[in-house]
């Protein structure tokens, strides 16, 4: 009954979105506005109902549905029954549509007396995007498809995805990806309307950019946390195509966010902002294509149906061709010939913008290069970590440096002596902090030194801004930048000073890593809610034999899905993580044990969370601005 209802609501949303598209093309009058309201709210209600129906079916373990049968099992814990709704291709498309319609509703909410034409145009583009995803879901990935016969129990949910961080990672990431659809639609409207040169469309764009970017940031961070805790590879970023697919919109989104400030303050750079708005969303959709089509292999590839890939590709082609040609023809009206002094706030933002776009292009090249090579030469190659490390880091370093100076500069032009005076305290604190860190870690490495110096540079300059209570700098900017400084600290520490030991251990063997004594105490079999596991027990002591903690890595076997997972056991403090993974072995020959000493990892997550906080502050502020204007 419930699935039938959900399916009906899914089809009904198709009706509402068509209504929205038709009525957002009409001239302004009260009836049009009322019908538009019905369409937008109807659409939102339908997608909520659709999503709720699938959730209820998953909660009830309703195995009459193919989707529930393939991805769930009655013994699955409640949290993962809910997360299982979007942990599969069909359900995640419903989530995607739900978020699209929520943003659609917020676009509708910004209607006022003066912006009818602009908002209507935006709603039209947004409607077209929604219809694209609706048709895709209904015809190629309908989650309400019924089973031919009703099975007793489901096939289970991939246990590697059963992790709290991963349960909330997709929704947050989707708010990010999909939020850029609204930005895209605003951009299309700004290009399409002829006499719009003086209309402040960037005011409408900004809260959506900030919201999308903020949620994308925390979404990526959670994905990274999942990889760190669940995959058991000792690292938190692997340059997997899917990670890149989320990083690229983030990089362009960062550029877009900052360019919008220039539009706001100097009324310039509009062409550039529009291009970024289009490309950011196109990259989100291309990312979806790469993940869902299966043309690349990745841990995330779950849908290997070529017809789905073909559909998304055609949809991407239509969106991209239309928007980029529109851009080529229409953006001329926004071209300006402003020049900026390099030593000014806008100069710094622009320089950083260019660097962000270069980083993004580099990552994009690395991701699609193997595909392009295969197309044009028939050779197969793979691009991995060494490429990204040697290309991204050198471009990121000047970007971070500029990030430390930019906020201290004034708009327009700044004298060099004044700058030096402003940054003098930062220089002193940075030097002191860096020396302290290096006295502690005693490892010297040029990239490490640069990273630590930059991190403290950002942290101190923003701390000073907070202490001085400078009004002209926004709180959200300071908070986010401060978080970013911590993030860099964590990234540098964990990648430069990571220590790894792989060894074969028997019971009562001992090993030392970075002044920690680790003793292999025992190994035992345990039984979890839907798995059986072998659990090893390690005693961790400091060099004076004081007990620090007990670490218990596990190897779990999930009988339903026949999958073995490794559960790393991690002890975290502010200075380092101790990370132990249990490998193969037996009582006679011992076990393969991997031990990692990862310095400062916790600061990556703290940093990301503080950036997120800064974003939330900014969303709030920008929404308020929108109500006033």
């Amino acid at each position: 009954m419930i699935p039938l209802f959900g399916n009906f609501a899914l089809w009904l949303s198709l009706f509402f979105v068509v209504l929205q598209i038709i009525y957002s093309r009409k001239e302004k009058n009260n009836l049009v506005l009322q019908i538009n309201r019905v369409a937008v709210i109807g659409l939102l209600a339908c997608s909520l109902l659709t999503f709720a129906s699938l959730t209820v079916s998953h909660l009830n373990s309703d195995f009459t549905l193919v989707n529930v049968y393939q991805n769930s099992h009655s013994t699955k814990p409640l949290l993962y029954k809910i997360a299982g709704v979007w942990g599969n291709h069909e359900g995640s498309m419903l989530l995607w549509i739900l978020v699209l319609t929520i943003f659609n509703y917020f676009i509708f909410r910004s209607y006022n007396k003066n912006n009818f034409k602009f908002i209507s145009n935006t709603l039209e583009s947004q409607g077209i995007i929604i219809i694209g995803f609706l048709i895709f879901t209904i015809f190629t990935s309908n989650p309400f498809k019924l089973m031919k016969s009703i099975p007793v129990d489901g096939l289970g949910f991939n246990p590697i995805l059963q992790d709290p961080a991963l349960a909330i990672h997709p929704p947050l990431l989707y708010v990010g990806y999909v939020g850029f659809s609204a930005v895209f639609s605003f951009g299309i409207a700004a290009l399409k309307i002829k006499d719009i040169n003086t209309f402040p469309w960037h005011y409408y764009m900004k809260p959506f950019v900030v919201a999308a970017w903020t949620f994308l940031t925390i979404g990526i961070a959670l994905g990274s946390i999942w990889a760190y805790y669940e995959l058991g590879w000792g690292g938190w970023w692997f340059w997997d195509p899917v990670e890149n697919a989320s990083l690229m919109p983030w990089l362009l989104g960062t550029a877009l966010l900052h360019s919008l400030i220039i539009v706001e303050k100097r009324n310039s750079l509009k062409t550039w902002v529009l291009l970024l708005a289009i490309l950011t969303f196109l990259l989100s959709v291309i990312g979806t294509f790469l993940v869902r089509s299966g043309i690349l292999t990745s841990v995330h590839t779950f849908a290997l149906d070529p017809s789905r890939g073909l559909y998304i590709l055609i949809f991407t082609a239509i969106l991209g061709t239309y928007s980029l040609i529109l851009f080529a023809i229409q953006s001329k009206k926004y071209l300006d010939n402003n020049y900026y002094a390099f030593l000014s706030k806008e100069g710094a933002i622009l320089a950083n913008n260019i660097l962000m776009v270069i980083v993004c292009s580099t990552v994009f090249l690395g991701t699609v290069y193997p595909l392009l090579v295969e197309t044009f030469t028939n050779n197969k190659i793979s691009v991995g970590e060494p490429y990204y490390n040697s290309t991204v880091i050198p471009i990121a370093i000047p970007a971070i440096l500029i990030m430390g100076i930019g906020p201290l500069l004034s708009w327009q032009k700044e004298e060099k002596i004044k700058i030096l005076k402003k940054i003098f305290p930062n220089i002193i604190i940075t030097i002191v902090a860096t020396i302290v860190i290096f006295l502690n870690y005693k490892t010297y490495n040029i990239v490490g030194i640069i990273g630590i110096v930059l991190a403290f540079w950002i942290i101190t300059s923003n701390t000073i801004l907070i202490l001085k209570k400078v009004k002209k700098n926004s709180l959200s900017m300071i908070v986010s930048h401060f978080g970013f400084g911590l993030l860099i600290l964590g990234i540098t520490g964990s990648s430069i000073w990571q220590e790894e030991k792989i060894l074969n251990m028997n019971i009562n063997n001992q090993v030392t890593i970075k002044s920690h004594n680790i003793t292999f105490k025992k190994i035992e079999e345990i039984k979890g809610p839907n798995y059986v596991a072998i659990r090893a027990s390690f005693l961790v002591e400091d060099k004076n034999r004081n007990i620090i903690t007990k670490l218990e890595p596990e190897n779990r076997f999930y009988p339903i899905t026949q999958i073995i997972t490794t559960e790393a056991s991690i002890h975290t403090n502010l200075l380092r993580d101790l990370y132990i993974v249990l490998g193969d072995g037996n009582l006679k020959d011992g076990w393969v044990i991997r031990i990692y000493h990862n310095p400062l990892v916790i600061w990556i997550w703290i940093g990301a969370f503080i950036i997120f906080l800064g974003g939330i502050i900014s969303i709030n502020k920008n929404l308020k601005k929108l109500n006033i204007s």
């Binding site: 291009l275 890939g309 061709t321 080529a328 001329k332 197969k380 060894l503």
Partner: protein, 180 residues
Amino acid sequence: MIKKQILLIPFVVFIIILLSFFYLLIIERNPSELPSNLLNKTTPKFETNKIYDDSTFISSKEFGNEIVLVNFFATWCKPCKKEHKYIKLFSEKDKIRVIGINYKDKKNKTIQWLADLGNPYSDVLIDNTGEIGIDWGVYGIPETYVVNEKGIIKYKQIGQITKKSYKKIISIIEKINNEK
């Protein structure tokens, strides 16, 4: 005028990329398959110490005289222990020179390990940092390479050698011998 044409660039790039995606989507392919780049190429050059006498092994002098197997192994790697009997068969029964590259391991442990299991290797080379492994394109160990008498890599075995892959490697060696 030039400015206006620049505005078209994003579109052109976009179309080229999409067309290549389209092509890859419709042809039959397995995205996870990745043949070794080194197949039919000469062995990567390297110098390293031998584990027993600390003398230097210079790869350019050692490859290119006879058929050689190169086997990446480590004492912490369980499959390495399981495939050891086949490595022994290669060197003792088939009289093929096998060079062992000891990947990210401890010297003492390796010597003990080889003393326990027997040492089928003509030379045991040290790769503490894994750099030689990177040059050879090692995914994970064990991995075994067949190098012909001209120093060219003819075959790569990823993972443990089993009865089946042992036969496969022998047949490849026979083929190389026949082509001489």
